[in-house]
Structures are given as structure tokens and as C-alpha cells.
Amino acid sequence: MTGLAIVGGSYAALNVAASARQHGYAESITILTDEHELPYHRPPLSKGFLLGATDRETLPLRGEAFYRDNVINIVFGARASAVDCGASRIETTKGAFAFSKLAITTGTRARIIPIPGGDLRGVFTLRSLADADAIRAVLPGVRSVVVVGGGFIGLEMAASMAQSGVEVTVLEGLGRVLARVTGGTISGFIEREFAGHGVNLACGTAVEAFEGQNGAVRCVRTRSGQRYAADMVILAVGAEPNVELAEDLGLATAQGVVVDLCGRTANPAVFAAGDCAFGMNAFAGRSLRLESVQNATDQGKAAGAAIAGIDLPNSAVPWFWSDQFDLKLQMVGLCNGSDREVIRGSMDARKFSIFYLKRDRIVAIDSVNNASDNMLGRKLLGRPHSVSAEQVSDPDFNMRSLI
């Protein structure tokens, strides 16, 4: 048997399949997912879905008609356990599948840090719809939650919980929230907003242990000896790529499954895309692994085209979004390595953007309730341009003139 087997069932899997078909791949396509849902939107899990504002029926990325029309098979509950490229065969909990091409879109899993009490009832991570269901099932009885980690998922969960009337504490190990992904100005703004909503936020705080009673978590103890009451803990300390299959094939490092700009690995039959993939990023000019919907989508499209025999290197400018309370945070580009932050708009009016400059070039824009700057960045950042800090900070300067 020949055909494409795709391991994983989220954004990258869908886009590999759709792009392969779009570019003329005529053999069978089978998505092997260990979940029990069609690929679905994950961002609502920490926001609208948690609050009950987003219903399950609106979560699928595409309806069944799409898979039928494009002749894409999905096998649910199929967790891959081993792959043999010589025999072109993959073993899963739903049986073995033959393939001639393999796409690894296994994504990431929530990072678990070994904290005493981590196995207590009431300690959760959030990655999948099943995780969100488990949290939702117990949320009505929760009075106080401690979120460990001030990254995107931690902050989104904290905001949602605070909006549902739960007392919320966020414990962040580093000196500020979102330290890995944004500059100090945005971090400071977000911290003040959360404080304004009554969220108790402690940065530079390392967690020592979760303490429980009758098997259920009751409080979080920090390294400095402070105790925070909690009948729920959300562990949101990042994600780790699922690289085991690729490691077995010698195609991965600890950083991810190694790919080129078209999602090819060193094995001509094997491709990879999305959160699990590590490779050259055309915009950044260096190898990296991105955890985002945009990257999973664009890298998936490139890999799908390559599977169909067409070179369409991924050259997308990275972008990302996060909704917290009434803040629409949108990011485009990569701010690491910038040498200057310039504000445009009004922080007091809660509608502004931070432009990150490297010499005369904008390398990233982080916007708060200011979507037009984000959209501008998606067009501009990948193109040659030259701008001064004075121009960026001048409200009368027309940024669109740079495009």
C-alpha cells in the first residue's frame, strides 16, 4: 500500500493533508490522531470554551464535509507507538498502517515539572479538549485557583477563572510575566491589568510543593515558605515537543524534529510541521521551534506541498494572538535581538503597540487592542523597509507609507 500517513491531529495535520491534496497528491491520506475529535481550535479552550461562551460545535477547524470532499481519512484514538521506515509501516493502538510518506505533526505536550504533590487531585494542565473538559467539570466547585506559570496559557486561564468569580493567584518563576515572548513594557502593562482585575500575581516566585488533604490539593507552598490556598492548580509552565517517533528514526534533537523550509526531514519519505518541528525560519534567519497556530498552519502548508512534489518554502512572518480579559494582544515578528522599543498609541487608552526596532528595521510589533498595527506588521515585516524611532512614535506619520 502507498499513501501518506499523518501522525497527529491538529492544525499542522489538517494543513499538511489539505495542502497535499491542493497540490495534486493523489494517493490515500490518513490522519492518525490519539484524540477523539476532528482537528479543532485550541485557543478557545482557555477562554470562551472554559467560560461556556464557545460551544463545542464551533470548535472543529473544518467540518466532516471537508474531509469527505478531499478524501482524507481520520483514525481516532490511534496513538503511534513505533515506526519502521524500512518497512514503511507505523504501529498504533488502532493497528498498523503502511505508508510511502510519513508526516510527523505530533505537536507538544504540557511540561510537567517534578513538584511534590503534583499527582494530587485538582492539579491540571491544559493542552487538549479532554483537558478542558476535565477542568470545566470541576470548576463550579472551585473557590481559589493557583496558576503556576505566567505565560500565555497561564494568563489566559487566570483571566478566564477571574471572570468566572474564582479567586486567582499566578505564580511566575521569572521576574515578569511573558518574559520569554515579549518585552518589559507589555509585561508591565499586563501585570497592572491583572492586578486591576483582582488577580494576585507574584513574579520571581518558585514553587516548592503542592500540599493536599485526602488526596486533593489544598495549597501551594513556595520556596520562600509562603502558602497560597488552592482547591485547583493549573500547571502552565510551557510545552515540550513530542519527538519520540522522530527520535526513533534519528530525525530529532531535544529541540524538535529537524526540518528544512519545506518541512522535509533528512529522510526523503518523512516530513514534519508545527509545534514539534525545529528548523530554519526564513524571517528570523536562524533555526527555531515555534509554538503557534500560524506556524503550524504555514509549515503544514509547505510540508503538504513538498509531499505533492512542489517546493513552496515557508517564508511567513510569525504572528500570534492572546485574549485576556478585554485585552486583545497580537504579536507579529520576533522581538528577540531588537535594540529598541518604541510605543505608538496610548497606553492610558489601552490601545497601543510596541514596535521593536533593530537599527532602522521593525523586527516585531506587539499590539494591545490595536489590530491595525498587527495587520500592517504582517504585510510589512517580511519586506525590506527603513524607519526611524521618531517616525514610529509620531502619530501623524503614516506607517502604511512604508509598505
Partner: protein, 107 residues
Amino acid sequence: MPRIIFRDADGGIREVNVDAGRSVMLGATMNGVPGIDADCGGTLSCATCHVYVDEAWADRIPPVDEVENDLLENVACERAANSRLSCQILVTEDLDGITVDIPERQY
């Protein structure tokens, strides 16, 4: 169930039905209509569900709000007076037969 008619850039036509209260975007994604990427799933973050609403219908839907306007400002294909993000058009029985044109690309 109200009908939505999608016309693509090559003149192809797709007619789908969607429950009242759902968005035009969802009508496309659930029925496999190509050309509506809808990366953010309707949370006003991505602007990849851009459509041009047929003139006959343009006045019958609520106007563009501030966030939608901000997103449309630099949308991938040219913005026109009838440009909308299809996630923001909720279908009602009154909109049965609403017709929209899909732009060439969403990026």
C-alpha cells in the same frame, strides 16, 4: 436553515445551509468551502475570513465595529466598501440566501 451562497474568485458557486445564529465563516468551514481560512476561529484576531458581501445584502447586516475595522484596514486582498470578516456576520432567517464573494487569498 438559512442558505449562504459563496462565489469564489474563479466564478465557482457553493451553496450551504447553516443554523440561524451561526456565522457565515462557520458556514464555510463546516461545509468545506475553500478560501475561508478562518485561522482564529472567529475571535477577531486573524482576518483570514475576509469576504465581499453582495450589494443586495450589504445594507442588511449590522455595520463594522472598531476591531473588525482595524483588521480590515490592512487585509491581504484589497479592502472594498463591502468588505467584511465573515465571522462577524451572524446568519438569521432574514438573511436566507445571503451571497458573498471570496477574495483570491487571505494572506
